[in-house]
């Protein structure tokens, strides 16, 4: 279990060095992305002007306030509360994000599934777990909303955040087949029979 402080973007080798139970903190650029963003990018063929090669994306749709473009708010948006949404709905976008945009890190909550795990192995990437529902804290790790693209999808725009010590985040799916969610899920399912027996369920 090692801790890594990354200045984004990272290389394939850096992504492949990560193992489950390692922790990571990010500095520099982090992209915010959600259901509608990816539906429009990968199903409707919309392009972004952002170069996401080697970068991290977080599954989010933030609370923001339009204050106009200033030195402190170059995107025109001030952040109010930025947190993380459940990743499971966006499973099918992991591979295109990695293949077409060069993304190396996906940050979310609740985990992803087998197709994402394979993409992480094939291309070199990881899934980092952030604590869902801890958005007030997460917001303090974000210095600025630098830019925004596809903003007609607001709040599900493509957000470019500048972050400082964003984490620690837990490596919960790595490029070597390591997956904390499947380990925990299997252990929990192994406990099912004992729990049902304790409840007096006869056919358990």
């Amino acid at each position: 279990m090692a801790h890594y402080d990354f200045q984004m973007p990272i290389t394939e080798a850096q992504a492949r060095a990560l193992m489950v139970n390692d922790t990571v903190s990010l500095n520099g650029t982090l992209y915010g992305i959600r259901d509608a963003t990816q539906i429009h990018m990968f199903d409707h063929g919309r392009k972004t002007r952002f170069d996401m090669k080697g970068h991290a994306v977080i599954h989010t749709a933030p609370n923001v306030k339009w204050v106009g473009e200033t030195g402190a708010t170059p995107s025109g948006y001030e952040s109010i509360c930025i947190g993380t949404t459940t990743s499971a709905r966006m499973e099918r976008f992991t591979r295109p994000l990695m293949e077409q945009c060069g993304v190396r890190i996906i940050i979310g909550k609740g985990g992803l599934f087998a197709a994402s795990q394979k993409a992480f192995s094939d291309i070199g990437g990881v899934y980092l777990a952030v604590v869902g529902g801890a958005a007030a804290l997460e917001t303090t790790w974000i210095e600025q909303i630098e830019e925004v693209d596809l903003d007609d999808l607001n709040p599900e725009s493509l957000w470019k955040f500048r972050v400082k010590d964003f984490g620690p985040l837990l490596v919960s799916m790595d490029s070597h087949g390591g997956n904390l969610y499947t380990v925990v899920n299997k252990a929990a399912r192994d406990n099912r029979a004992a729990v049902l027996a304790a409840l007096g369920v006869k056919s358990a």
Partner: protein, 291 residues
């Protein structure tokens, strides 16, 4: 008491924002209880982050969670309260929209097929407004629940058979907790509806999921069942965020209703650890805010 609709609009705005920022005391107590007994280091660290987040939200007067949810308003109208029901609903919706645009907060509400967001947290049938009546004299209470999608996404209904008995209910609840894993942002309150019609059963599961910790089902049979399930649910090991540990759920809550001789319905709806709710109580003395 004659209800001042302007007051209702202001209160509806205020309780949406308050709900998003201040976690009720019973949930904070629930966190303390889980934190004291969690044995898994990862689970313990995650609970620590969640507890820290509650303090940061209060210190920065910020939202606890980015998900502003689907707004639900539960209205209880007491005895001798005079109010135009249609105008009451309009005032609540207006307060909900004003919270969204004036704070501002993210409007998480879209049309189901066009996905158009009016950026008011309102739309067809939303905010959800449930109206009930009580015998409390001269009091109108409005409870506000911002129901987040992570927990709402995982909702289930099973029309089990009478021959399957109570075992079917217990098994279904446990299987839903397993199926939810980390997706519902555990530790959760597992809300279970038992009986009724299909729609009533699902509604009861939501009532159960959003009930204060430490309260019991009014039906003694439901209370017995929720105690049994609460005692074992944390033996599954799903843990905070589905990453393992003892703290899968704060509690299992059950609400019951009579059902048809041929039916044995059970529904599960969960509330995430950001188990937000707030309340405005309107009397002739004014508005009191609480939980």
């Amino acid at each position: 008491m004659k209800v001042d609709l302007q007051q209702i609009e202001e209160a509806s705005k205020e309780i949406y924002i308050r709900a998003l920022k201040i976690l009720p005391p019973d949930i904070k107590e629930g966190f303390k209880r889980l934190d004291a007994t969690e044995t898994n280091p990862t689970g313990k660290a995650i609970l620590g982050t969640m507890i820290k987040n509650i303090a940061v939200a209060e210190a920065n007067t910020n939202l606890l969670c980015q998900d502003t949810g689907i707004p639900i308003y539960n209205v209880v109208i007491g005895a001798g309260v005079e109010v135009d029901g249609y105008a009451l609903k309009q005032a609540i919706a207006k307060g909900c929209a004003r919270a969204t645009t004036e704070h501002p907060i993210r409007s998480s509400v879209v049309h189901p097929t066009t996905r158009h967001n009016e950026h008011t947290s309102c739309g067809r049938g939303v905010p959800v407004i449930n109206i009930d009546f009580s015998d409390k004299p001269g009091e109108l209470s409005i409870e506000m629940i911002p129901k987040g999608s992570g927990s709402e996404f995982n909702s289930w209904l099973k029309m089990a058979l009478p021959a399957d008995g109570i075992d079917a209910i217990k098994t279904f609840v446990i299987d839903c907790v397993l199926e939810a894993g980390g997706k519902t942002c555990p530790p959760t309150i597992v809300g279970v509806g038992v009986g009724g019609t299909a729609d009533l059963c699902v509604h009861l599961s939501k009532v159960a999921a959003t009930r204060a910790l430490g309260t019991a089902c009014a039906d003694p049979e439901g209370a017995k069942l929720e105690q049994e399930l609460s005692a074992v649910v944390n033996k599954l090991g799903v843990g905070p965020q589905g990453l393992g540990g003892d703290s899968t759920s704060f509690a299992v809550h059950i609400e019951t209703a009579a059902t048809h001789i041929t039916l044995n319905p059970v529904a599960v709806n969960m509330q995430c650890h950001s188990a937000r709710r707030s309340r405005a109580t309107v009397t002739s003395a004014g508005i009191a805010y609480g939980f």
